[in-house]
């Protein structure tokens, strides 16, 4: 893939828009300061198209300009989906064929996080983005523990329900709570289960970085915009397919 730059209305024009606030009263100096910031960010020329005082001692700017940076898509690292997307019907069939029983999914929001919107979008039958939630899958038994579940409660529920997969949602990210909670959770499961029997650990939330699974000690991280179908497909793929080879684990 070739190098690219932003597109305004002509190939190669490099045009971007940017808005920000500076802690300074509105004046010509303030507008100059805005241009200076834009220049330092690689915008040249930079045009302040809008400047407005906001509150006492603040000015809001909208800046348009050309950036001189190039980007190289071939060097971008992303987690590509490494499993096939299944319809609910296909997922049910795969579970039936390989497990001969319902696959148990236990989910909840851990820590003090009370935002169930994420876990509900994935688990509730209502679903998200036009896809039905996991409760809709006949061969999935879904136990939604809801909000503010402590890690010991989650482990306990996973044992009690003989969970095959555990889904954790984290929306609140103040002071990296989502990362701390996830590490605590994965450590607890490691302690409570022998490695071969540990349920699949899946964590999701709008602010997670999908490349962090290894670092967080979980099997998969899902970020913004993940749909129930993707989660279901991943779980089914990992739990009903052939165990990943050593090479796949290493990669």
């Amino acid at each position: 893939m070739s190098l690219i730059r932003p597109y305004g209305d002509t190939t190669g024009d490099g045009m971007v828009q940017l808005s920000f606030t500076l802690p300074i009263e509105h004046s010509k100096v303030a507008e100059g300061a805005a241009v200076q910031l834009a220049n330092k960010m690689g915008m040249d020329p930079a045009l302040v198209v809008h400047a407005k005082p906001m509150g006492e001692g603040f000015t809001f700017f909208v800046v348009y300009g050309r950036v001189n940076h190039l980007v190289d898509p071939s060097t971008v690292e992303v987690v590509e989906r490494d499993y096939p997307l299944l319809t609910p019907k296909e997922a049910n069939a795969a579970i039936k064929r390989s497990m001969r029983r319902r696959l148990v999914v236990v989910g909840g929001c851990i820590g003090t996080d009370a935002h169930t919107v994420g876990i509900d979008a994935i688990l509730n039958i209502k679903g998200f983005a036009g896809e039905k939630g996991l409760e809709y899958y006949r061969e999935l038994k879904v136990v939604n523990l809801g909000a503010q579940v402590s890690v010991p409660q989650l482990v306990e529920a996973a044992r009690e329900e003989k969970a095959d997969a555990v889904l954790v949602s984290q929306v609140v990210t103040q002071r990296d709570a989502h990362l701390l909670n996830t590490r605590e959770m994965s450590a607890a499961f490691r302690e409570a289960y022998p490695a071969a029997r540990r349920p699949l650990l899946v964590v999701g939330g709008p602010r997670f970085d999908e490349t962090m699974a290894g670092e967080l000690g979980v099997d998969r991280v899902f970020s913004r915009g993940t749909t129930p179908g993707e989660v279901a497909s991943f779980i089914v793929h990992r739990l009903t397919g052939p165990r990943p080879s050593a090479e796949e684990i290493a990669s």
């Binding site: 003090t112 996080d113 209502k126 909000a147 609140v172 103040q174 002071r175 709570a177």
Partner: protein, 528 residues
């Protein structure tokens, strides 16, 4: 707007039928609430009598004292008789000393009888009465201040949120928001406070996605907004949350510290926080009695139904909940002007006619509750991170607000679901509100939906479904001997969440009242 005829072609008899059903469904719950008390109701009573502060571990003295009383004599008599009996017996000079000694294990409580009981109840009534007088004084202080500095200049009141986690950061942000045009400031609580069975103490600087509700935080913020109100020449109202396990205590603290509005929903804690239904209904009734006395406007939480269920399919659950909230509120002594009944703009913008549907739902709420301020909540579910589209959606939300005379308008942020609002987000959001109000604020004078048109038809349809749901609830006998509403909540009638009456958080803090139960706060609050 003319009241005598319905702009939506709604039959008056249907409205009466809906209210009658809400009363029939709500009454058994009120009976249940009257026959129970909770640890938080008892602790709120101690707070009204002036017991504050916490032990070195941060456990409030009201918790320490109430726990010992309960261990000695149970909760079913209330804490007032045992506590003021102990004081009369000279076990402590005041409540604080008594609480400290009780915590140290040097006092044994008893339930006084005969003359001793009379002496204890009289002393308890005097002590708790002083707290209620303080609430009365704060109500007068609010009225005086509004008369002196002026009120919010127009409706709807512009409602903005601060949520830094640190009260000393919240204060300048709240003052800045007021200067930018906010009529109401809400300090979002720390995530998780609703499930704490105690009220944290003192000024707090650490919270998750919000700031702890404490008496000291209330006091600091109210004092700061008083200063800003004088500076701006309009009274800036302060809002917090009387919800969760400590609803009655927070209501008492709000009254004592002159908060002006409180989030207080009859079923939110049950459905969305898995708090035990009986605990919630008992706590809710007490907290509403306190709010009524304090002149506080409550905001109910119907918007939450639409964040989990589909906003079209579940529209009638909003209406049903509004009717129930109204019944419970009025039973507890609140007046129409104190009912900020909630609803929200949450229909998927991809749905054809979504704006007409929103307008129909909002007009229905306005027509059913003509004298209530109504709280209009902005889109959250379909705010995707596309801030440009979100800004437009917020504009349409504001337009519905203008067309339906909303009393309280929570300002929508285009960066909803992206960041906690930046200073520029708030300014842009307020510009959006001002543009719409300036351009179309009086459009409701000209606008009448066609009587047989889509909007009027949809409003009638939703009311019909709400009546149907109330009838279904009334007939619910799935748990014999229980109020039908409890059975319905256990069935998952609301928001698909099943919440049985014998489950949920805080159940262990509920007790059925004994024959000699005494609570001076309830007694005084029910006198008027």
């Amino acid at each position: 707007m003319a009241r005598t005829t319905s702009a939506l072609g709604i039959d008056r008899a249907d409205v009466r039928r809906a209210r009658t059903l809400a009363r029939q469904v709500g009454k058994p719950i009120v009976d249940l609430a009257q026959h129970h008390t909770t640890v938080s109701v008892e602790r709120a009573t101690l707070r009204l009598a002036g017991l504050g502060g916490a032990d070195p571990d941060g456990t409030p003295w009201v918790n320490r004292l109430a726990d010992v009383v309960r261990a000695d004599v149970g909760l079913e008599h209330g804490v007032s008789l045992p506590v003021w009996d102990a004081l009369a017996r000279g076990e402590g000079d005041d409540l604080l000393t008594l609480a400290q000694k009780a915590a140290a294990g040097s006092i044994t409580f008893r339930v006084p009888e005969g003359k001793d009981a009379k002496r204890a109840s009289a002393a308890a009534r005097k002590a708790v009465g002083a707290g209620i007088k303080q609430i009365d004084r704060q109500r007068v202080a609010r009225e005086k201040m509004i008369a002196k500095v002026g009120d919010a200049p127009s409706k709807p009141w512009i409602y903005l949120i601060v949520a830094t986690g640190d009260i000393h950061e919240d204060i300048p942000q709240a003052q800045a928001a007021a200067r930018e045009g906010a009529d109401v400031i809400a300090v979002i609580r720390s995530t998780g406070q609703s499930l704490l069975d105690f009220v944290p103490e003192g000024a707090t600087r650490e919270g998750f996605a919000g700031t702890y509700a404490t008496q000291e935080n209330f006091r600091l913020m109210r004092a700061a907004l008083d200063e800003t109100s004088r500076e701006l020449g309009r009274y800036v109202r302060l809002t917090n949350y009387a919800s969760g396990l400590c609803m009655p205590e927070i209501a008492a603290l709000a009254g004592l510290e002159r908060l002006d509005m409180m989030l207080n929903d009859s079923m939110y804690g049950i459905l969305f926080r898995d708090i035990n239904p009986i605990r919630t209904f008992v706590d809710q009734r007490f907290s509403r009695q306190v709010h009524a006395r304090a002149g506080i406007i409550i905001n109910t939480g119907e918007d939450n139904y639409l964040t989990t269920a589909d906003a079209i399919e579940a529209a009638h659950t909003v209406t049903t909940s509004q009717l129930l909230n109204e019944y419970f509120a009025k039973e507890a002594g609140l007046e129409d002007w104190q009912l900020g009944l909630g609803h929200a703009f949450e229909i998927d913008p991809e749905v054809p006619d979504s704006f007409r549907l929103e307008l129909a739902h909002a007009m229905l709420a306005r027509e059913l509750f003509p004298d209530a301020p109504l709280k209009w909540m902005p889109p959250t579910r379909h705010m995707t991170g596309d801030i440009f589209k979100g800004y437009l959606l917020d504009g349409f939300f504001n337009l519905v607000g203008a067309l339906t005379g909303q009393g309280i308008l929570l300002v929508g942020m285009m960066t909803e679901a992206v960041v906690t609002p930046w200073i520029s987000d708030r300014d842009l959001a307020l510009q959006n509100v001002r543009y719409v109000m300036n351009a179309a604020g009086k459009l409701h004078e000209d606008f009448r939906p066609a009587p047989d048109g889509f909007i009027a038809g949809r409003a009638r349809e939703v009311l019909g479904e709400a009546i149907g749901l109330l009838e279904e609830i009334k007939a619910d006998r799935s748990v014999p001997g229980e109020p039908p509403l409890l059975s319905a909540i256990a069935d998952g009638t609301f928001g698909l969440m099943k919440r049985p009456a014998d489950k949920g958080k805080g159940l262990e803090g509920v007790a059925r009242k004994a024959a000699d139960y005494y609570n001076p706060a309830t007694e005084i609050l029910e006198e008027k």
